[in-house]
Every structure is written in structure tokens, then in C-alpha cells.
């Protein structure tokens, strides 16, 4: 069971930049493209866990800050010739607010 959770306003993400979302169990990087598409991806490069939120975004690609691996933000796939994949999350934008589809377990406070 997943749920749409409001995380941030579109205006609070820099164009071609990202915000880091921390839930109880996950770190998720939320990126904004030049044409205001928004992508959510697990904040760990499949190579050596580099924080993708700190990378440079170009088009719909992010380059990992540690060793320059490139990932497609829509699919989470690593671009050739490197290989791998990072989790992505469904995103919707409603009235300038960004919602991610998350498992409630991942953001519930530890009780």
C-alpha cells in the first residue's frame, strides 16, 4: 500500500537542481528540469552510493558527484557504458506542490 505525500513546493527546488527528502528509512533526491518536470530518485548511485542529489543535472540526466556515472532520472537506469539502476518514485505536481508516492512505513515516526 502506497500513499501520495506532499513533500515540497516546485518553487523551492532550483531549476536544474535538487532537494534532498529524508524519510525515516529513505533518502530521496527530487530534481527539477528546465521545463519543470520533476523526478524522484533514491539518493544513492548504484556504483558506490554517491549522493545523487549533489550531482549536476542536465536534460533528464544526473551525473553522480563521486565518479561521474550518469543516470536517467525518469527510469533510474545508468547510462551506457556503465550499468546499474537506482529506484525511482512516482511524482505528481498539483497546484505547484510536489507529491511522491511512498510506502507509509518509510515516513512513519519510529514509535
Amino acid at each position: 500500500m502506497t500513499k501520495w505525500i506532499e513533500v515540497v513546493e516546485l518553487d523551492h527546488i532550483p531549476v536544474l537542481g535538487s532537494r534532498l527528502i529524508k524519510t525515516r528509512t529513505k533518502s530521496i533526491a527530487v530534481f527539477r528540469s528546465t521545463d519543470n518536470q520533476v523526478f524522484a530518485i533514491n539518493d544513492a548511485c548504484p556504483h558506490k552510493k554517491g549522493p545523487l542529489s549533489q550531482g549536476i543535472m542536465h536534460g533528464t540526466t544526473v551525473t553522480c558527484p563521486l565518479h561521474n556515472w550518469k543516470l536517467n532520472l525518469a527510469s533510474g537506469e545508468v547510462l551506457a557504458p556503465d550499468q546499474g539502476c537506482a529506484n525511482t518514485y512516482p511524482v505528481k505536481i498539483v497546484e505547484g506542490k510536489i507529491y511522491l508516492q511512498l510506502d507509509p512505513e518509510s515516513f512513519k515516526d519510529a514509535e
Binding site: 505525500i5 513533500v7 515540497v8 523551492h12 527546488i13 532550483p14 531549476v15 536544474l16 537542481g17 532537494r19 534532498l20 527528502i21 529524508k22 524519510t23 525515516r24 533518502s27 528546465t34 558506490k48 552510493k49 554517491g50 549522493p51 549533489q54 550531482g55 549536476i56 543535472m57 542536465h58 536534460g59 551525473t63 558527484p65 563521486l66 561521474n68 557504458p81 511512498l102 507509509p104 515516513f107 512513519k108 515516526d109
Partner: protein, 813 residues
């Protein structure tokens, strides 16, 4: 926009390479149709010799299979020969009646072996050496027959002879001259080559004039003009190639030896028709090697994509022989004349011969036999016109001898075992690289970098990787061109862009990308960072810095570590500090529970393991104790390192610490093409190691020696002496002017050491030392740019600037 029709005649390396380059630039512009006479996809024709020698299979040399054409929506007519081009109706017609209409047409019909018009040349068993069909004929002949004669002792002939020998035939090479490969080799090298081929079992008939091919239906022998004869069941003619121009001629395109084209590879008769590869004659030259053809392909594709900024200006070529176990390289004018000098090394016992022809301290040509590891290096020096006087003494011993590759001088790439590590950063061995080159069909340094990561990090093994490429590919390897585009998003070079920014007042990134026809809307990490710097440097007061076009270290004003935390280095001017400052740093380190503290190589204190969200408050505390950012993370002035100087040292001649502090106060905060390090030593004992810094001051009793362009990193380089000055004020002015010249002239990510080697020390001396008004102007521009640069970024962020960057969003129920 309606798609135009592009038709390619000739499904070979030149034509298909053009399509590949075009698809990279404009995948959607054309409907593409290809006609190929041979019933195969595109294969690597240069690798036919290894196929003949059973070292490779046809499958291994295929470059584009049917799936590739399908994937790109290209219609491929295999096995169909085009017999007519109707220029009026813009239509091509194949022998089987297939037609295709074009808006643009590429003719890449290649060349055919020149067949000597001898009596009997039409007999069965007499062939050229050009395509898969010829190779199959030779392989079949080797099964049933014994004696082969190869006419022609050039590159292709010897490769064919070697292959037939390997197939078990008794092979004689007939050559009209007295030495082999006279177009590529001088006599001593040719003799060594002949000896070693004879040792393998090849027979040579030199200065032999073929008169007639003997036999009935099938060849049985060859007769020479002197009346002698030799038995032959197979005759391979390899006396040269001639461009295939019949089709072009038949439709009225102007041809001489080849189809005559201009610098954009359009035929001079009809601009809708391009011609490329071995069928072409450009500025009087018809090329028969692969490197020029790849350069032509790039230019033609650029023009077809209507980017229109590339021009083909000819290619300097080099040659290697693809006979396993024989190492041979030649390039340029290797014979020489009255104006040239030569350096020669010959060790007949070891089978090694090297000759380099020099004129005005530049390499004009080279022949290498037996040891060709440095071929590509000499070739690069030759193409670049590099002045070799500084290392002329050791030139013949090669690049490794210069310590240039950062590896043991004994490492010779050809003799290394497969397990030898080539790239120390990424742990890539020779075997991995060679395997990737052969299996994935890599041609360029960039491709090897992408697939293996070798040479993709610090770059110190680039020379070795290039040697491996040259060694593995043989003659088809084209060394990296001298003028490289800034990145893969554009064809424009760093210099084009820097000049364009100033000349056309392009003061935003979108304007630059628009002007230079960028192929990506946002650029890539390489060009965005470079453009951001170039614009900042050109318009220091107006340009608004783009944080998203900076590498994370500069965006977060700290060095990212492998676990995603950051390091914090406060500035300590000249490396000086007080007890109170040490106490403050200690207290702050305690407060933030810093896991590790170390002293840096530049005499600063480095605190590791700081989570990003704590950076702003830690900086605030450091600000309150009087510290500003140390810029240990930036392409910027890093530190000014000093020794004790005359205040305390019994040898000190000047106040090196005091001068160091003044220089750091002058220069901190300035963004540069790359990191920049300064040091001031109080005497020639040079305890501050000033002669391996970007700008080094060595104090002497009578004043200050200024040194530039040193580097203590990947490739250690000792500084060049710029000049000597008398006063501290002069040191500051020369230092500021030098930095500004570097800021305005160097390419982004180019340290001062390679920059000076590229532009030459003379240019720097001229601008800084000789031309006084220019020095003043540079220094003034530096001071102006410092007005907006010397604002502590830590303080700005601690006060709330770009708070979002440092604040994660916590989600909880």
C-alpha cells in the same frame, strides 16, 4: 519540418562513419538509404589482413550489422550496385532497377586494387586484395594450392604475403624496387624488415619486372622481363589502389585522380552531392588510409547536419604494418633534405632502428622499426610542431624516458604482460584495454575511456592508452586531433568560445549555446562548468554565477568525501595562526564532533566528516572566530605556503611569511580555470617548495625571483623563471597580472603547467615582463574582478543565502 532524403552509395567505412557522425548530431533530419555492392553490412576493411592470417574472423571485424541499420531506420540495399545517378531528377538507379530519390547524396565508392595490364592477367587465380571476397579466394586457394606470388612489396602486399604464408603457402613477393615499402621506409629499415620476413620464410624477388602471367585457364606461373620464371597457383596484385570514380564521372562530376571535393567534402560540381573516403581527391591528395577518412566523415556529417562550422583541411598520416610480431612505424618526411638533420639509432642485433628527421627543432618525419611504442608520440609532436630542443638528447629513447607518463621508464607498452596495470586510478590492466578495443571495436581515446575507465580519471596514463590503441589497431588509429571541441555538446573549441564570448558580448549561457549551435539544451557537466567560469571571468561585475553549473564542491563550499560528508578548511593567511585561533578551531571541532583533523600539504587545518546540513552553522562559528573560507574545494586560489623567513630563520633573506600573507590577501577568493597554488620561500633553500607551485617566489638577498608553472601533482613540473624583481609591491603586481593572464587565456581545467607548455613561456614573459602597459592592464583587471570575488561565501551562506541547498526536507507522519 519535412524530413529530407539522404542517399549513401557505398556501404563501407567512410560512408557509414559519416552516417554515424550525422546520427549523433541530427538523428531525425533525414530518411537514409544505403546502397552497398557487397552482400555484407559494414566491416572493418583494415582488419582484412588479420582475417587472412586467421587471427580474426569476419564476425569480429563487422562494424555495423543489420540490426544497426534497422535500429536507425536506415534502408539498406545490400548487394546492389548503383549504375546511374540522374542529377536532374536527383535519383540513383541500381543495376536491378531499384531507385531512390535524394535531396542530398553521399558518394563513398572507395577504391579498387590497381591491376597491372599484363598478358594473362585475366586468368583464374589472379586477384587483388581489397574485400572479403578476395580474402575468401585466398583462403580457398591455400587449401588446394601450394605456390603464391604477391606482386608489390608495399604495405598491402606484405600483409597479404604474410597471411598466405600463415595459411601454409609457399610465398614469393615480387617488387619492382630494390627496397620494400619505399613510400614508408628508408633503406636501413626496409632491410631489417626484409631480413625478418625472410626469416619467417617469405621469399623476395627484388627489382623484378613482371612480364606475363603464365598458364591456361588457371595461372601456373609468372614470367619476368629478364626471361626468368617462377611457379604460381595464385597471384595477388597489390601494386596500389585507384579511386572508384566511374560512377561519378558518368554523371558529370569533375574528377581528376579522384572525385574532386572542397573543404566541406562537397563535390565541386554539385553541392548537393558529397564524396568521401578513398574515392575522393581533396586539395590534390587521394588518401588510402583510415585516419583521414574518419576526419572527413566528421566534417561531412557536420555539414549535412547544417551546423556548418567544420572544415576539412587535410590530414597528416602515419603508417603501421599489421603483421604480427613486426613493429614498424613511419610518418612524414623520413628521408630529409639539405635543410634537415637526422637522429639515428640502430641496433641490428636486436632488430631495432629509429630515425627522426628534424628541421628547426621540429620533427618532420620518423621511421621506427622493432620498437614503435613511441610512434604515436613522435607523430603528435610532429603534427603539433612542438619545439623538441629541450629534450632532444633523449628524444630517441621515447616518451617514457621523459617520465611523462608518470610510470616506470622501463614500461614499454608492447612488451607488457596483459596483467600490467595501465590505469592506476581505476585499476585497468593492459589485457582489459586490448580486449575492449578488439571486442567492442573501439577507435578513439574517448571510447576507451567510456568503456574501460582507463585514462578517465587523472589522465596520467593517457599516453600509454594511446600507445595501446595505436598498437592494437595499427594504421587505422587516428591520434586525438590537436584542436578538441570543448565537450561533446559542441564542435567549437575552448578558444573559439572564449573569443566569441568577448567578441559578440555573449553574456549568458543560453546565448553562448545558441551562438555555437549546442546539441544539448542544458549542456553537460563539462561545458556548463566551463561556460560559467568563462562568463564570470569575462563579465566579473555583471554575470550572475549559476550554482547549478558548478561542481558540488564549489556549490557547497566544501570537499565532498566518499561517504557524502564534507571537509572544512578555514583560511589561515600565509599559514600563520595564533594560539587563540587554534583554541577556537579546537572548540568548534569539539562542538561538531569532528571525527578527524589533519594538517594539509598547504599548511592549513582540515576537518573531515561534516554532514552537509551542519556546514552553515559550523561556518558561522568559524566566522565569529575570525576565519573565512579556505577555498580548499575550488578551482581558485588555494593557499600561499610560506617558510619562516628573515623574522626567525638565520638564513632568511626577506620576510617570506609577511609577503605570503600579503599575496594571500591580494589573491584569495579569485576563481580560476583550475586550482592555483602559491608559495614564498625566504631563501634559495626553498623550504616552501616554491618551484613546484603555480606561482612561486624565492627570496634572495637582492630581491625576489618569480617562478611560474610548477606542479607537484600527477606530473611533477619544476617552474620556469619568469623574472627577478626588487620590491614586494612589484611581486604583488606581477603575481596579479600573471593570475589574470592565466584566468583569461587558459582553458577551463587546465593547470598553469600544461597551459605554459601549450602557449610557451615566451608569450607569458612578453605579456607580463616586457610589455609594461599590458602588465598594468592585466593587474587592473585582476583588482576589479577581486572586488566582487572577495566576499566570504561561508558568511553569505551562514546568513541564509541558498539555505535550501543545505536543508534536507524531513518527512514524517
Amino acid at each position: 519540418m519535412l524530413k529530407e532524403h539522404l542517399v549513401l552509395i557505398g556501404n563501407g567505412m567512410a560512408g557509414v562513419r559519416t552516417l554515424e557522425e550525422l546520427l549523433k548530431l541530427e538523428p531525425e533530419r533525414y530518411h537514409i538509404t544505403v546502397f552497398g555492392e557487397e552482400p555484407y553490412g559494414n566491416y572493418n576493411r583494415i582488419m582484412l589482413s588479420p582475417v587472412l592470417a586467421s587471427e580474426k574472423t569476419l564476425e569480429q571485424i563487422m562494424l555495423n550489422d543489420d540490426a544497426w541499420y534497422a535500429e536507425h531506420g536506415i534502408i539498406l540495399h545490400k548487394g546492389k550496385k548503383v549504375e546511374q545517378i540522374n542529377r536532374l531528377h536527383r535519383q540513383v538507379i541500381a543495376t536491378d532497377g531499384t531507385t531512390a530519390t535524394y535531396d542530398r547524396l553521399i558518394i563513398a565508392t572507395g577504391s579498387t586494387p590497381f591491376m597491372l595490364p599484363l598478358v594473362g592477367a585475366n586468368k583464374q587465380g589472379v586477384i587483388g586484395f581489397r574485400d572479403i571476397n578476395d580474402v575468401n579466394t585466398m583462403l580457398a586457394a591455400a587449401q588446394h594450392y601450394k605456390n603464391a606470388v604477391v606482386i608489390g612489396g608495399g604495405l598491402l602486399g606484405l600483409e597479404a604475403a604474410n597471411g598466405l604464408l600463415k595459411q601454409g603457402m609457399n610465398v614469393s613477393v615480387v617488387h619492382i624496387n630494390d627496397t620494400l615499402m619505399e613510400r614508408q621506409l628508408d633503406k636501413p629499415a626496409a632491410q631489417l624488415l626484409q631480413q625478418s620476413l625472410e626469416a619467417r620464410g617469405l621469399k623476395f624477388l627484388m627489382q623484378a619486372n613482371t612480364a606475363e602471367i603464365l598458364g591456361n585457364e588457371r595461372v601456373t606461373g609468372v614470367r619476368f622481363k629478364d626471361g626468368s620464371e617462377v611457379l604460381a597457383d595464385l597471384v595477388v596484385m597489390a601494386v596500389g589502389i585507384k579511386p572508384n570514380i566511374a560512377l561519378a564521372q558518368s554523371c558529370g562530376l569533375y574528377c581528376e585522380r579522384g572525385i574532386v571535393v572542397n573543404d566541406t567534402l562537397q563535390t565541386i560540381t554539385d553541392p548537393k552531392i558529397y564524396a568521401i573516403g578513398e574515392c575522393v581527391q581533396h586539395r590534390g591528395i587521394a588518401y588510402g588510409l583510415v585516419a583521414p577518412l574518419f576526419e572527413q566523415a566528421k566534417v561531412a556529417a557536420n555539414h549535412l547536419a547544417k551546423h556548418g562550422i567544420a572544415r576539412y583541411e587535410g590530414t597528416v598520416t602515419s603508417t603501421k604494418l599489421k603483421v604480427t610480431g613486426i613493429e614498424l612505424f613511419s610518418a612524414g618526411d623520413f628521408i630529409g633534405n639539405e635543410q634537415t638533420e637526422e637522429i639515428v639509432f640502430k641496433d641490428a642485433g636486436a632488430g631495432t632502428y629509429k630515425k627522426i628527421v628534424l628541421q628547426d627543432n621540429q620533427i618532420k618525419g620518423a621511421v621506427l622499426y622493432g620498437d614503435t611504442v613511441d610512434g604515436s608520440w613522435y607523430f603528435q609532436l610532429m603534427k603539433d610542431g612542438t619545439d623538441i630542443s629541450a629534450f632532444r638528447d633523449t628524444l630517441l629513447f621515447g616518451q617514457a624516458h621523459l617520465g611523462d607518463s608518470g610510470h616506470n621508464p622501463d614500461t614499454r607498452v608492447a612488451t607488457l604482460p596483459d596483467t600490467a596495470e595501465i590505469c592506476g586510478c581505476n585499476g585497468v590492466c593492459k589485457g582489459d584495454i586490448v580486449k575492449a578495443i578488439t571486442e567492442k571495436k573501439l577507435f578513439t581515446l574517448d571510447e576507451v575511456r567510456a568503456h574501460t575507465k582507463a585514462s578517465a580519471s587523472c589522465g596520467s596514463c593517457t599516453g600509454l592508452v594511446e600507445s595501446l590503441l595505436a598498437h592494437t589497431l595499427g594504421g587505422e588509429y587516428s591520434a586525438t586531433p590537436q584542436t578538441k571541441p570543448l565537450c561533446k555538446c559542441t564542435d567549437a573549441t575552448h578558444d573559439d568560445i572564449r573569443q566569441g564570448i568577448i567578441k559578440y558580448a555573449l553574456n549568458t549561457m543560453p546565448m553562448v549555446r545558441e551562438y555555437f549551435n549546442w546539441q544539448t539544451p542544458d549542456g553537460c557537466p563539462s561545458c556548463r562548468n566551463a561556460l560559467n567560469y568563462y562568463l564570470l571571468c569575462a563579465f566579473p561585475n555583471e554575470y550572475e554565477d549559476d550554482p547549478q553549473s558548478r561542481f558540488i564542491n564549489e556549490r557547497a563550499h566544501g570537499n565532498i568525501q566518499k561517504d557524502g560528508t564534507y571537509s572544512v578548511v578555514p583560511r589561515m593567511f600565509g599559514g600563520l595562526c595564533t594560539a587563540q585561533q587554534l583554541r577556537d578551531i579546537a572548540d568548534i571541532a569539539d562542538k561538531y564532533q569532528v571525527p578527524e583533523i589533519k594538517i594539509t600539504g598547504g599548511q592549513r587545518i582540515d576537518m573531515f566528516g561534516i554532514p552537509k546540513e551542519q556546514l552553515p552553522s559550523m561556518w558561522r562559528d568559524l566566522n565569529e572566530a575570525g576565519f573565512v573560507s579556505g577555498h580548499a574545494y575550488g578551482k581558485a586560489l588555494r593557499t600561499v605556503k610560506t617558510c619562516v623567513g628573515s623574522t626567525w630563520c638565520r638564513f632568511g633573506t626577506q620576510d617570506s611569511t609577511g609577503l605570503g600573507v600579503k599575496l594571500e590577501e591580494l589573491t584569495w577568493g579569485s576563481w580560476m580555470p583550475h586550482k592555483f597554488k602559491i608559495a614564498v620561500s625566504g631563501c634559495p633553500r626553498n623550504c616552501a617548495e616554491a618551484t613546484i607551485k603555480d606561482f612561486g617566489v624565492v627570496c634572495v638577498d637582492s630581491g625576489y625571483e618569480l617562478h611560474v608553472g610548477g606542479n607537484g601533482g600527477i606530473k611533477v613540473r619544476v617552474t620556469d623563471l619568469l623574472c627577478k624583481v626588487d620590491t614586494e609591491e612589484q611581486v604583488k603586481e606581477y603575481c596579479g597580472a600573471f593570475i589574470q593572464l592565466y584566468r583569461e587565456d587558459a582553458h577551463y581545467l587546465e593547470r598553469t603547467a600544461p597551459w605554459i607548455e601549450r602557449v610557451g613561456l615566451e608569450k607569458i614573459k612578453q605579456s607580463i615582463v616586457n610589455d609594461v602597459p599590458q602588465r598594468h592592464a592585466l593587474y587592473q583587471r585582476f583588482l576589479i574582478s577581486q572586488q566582487t570575488a572577495q566576499i566570504d561565501p561561508w558568511q553569505q551562506i551562514a546568513n541564509g543565502l541558498r539555505a535550501n541547498e543545505f536543508t534536507p526536507i524531513a518527512i514524517s507522519a
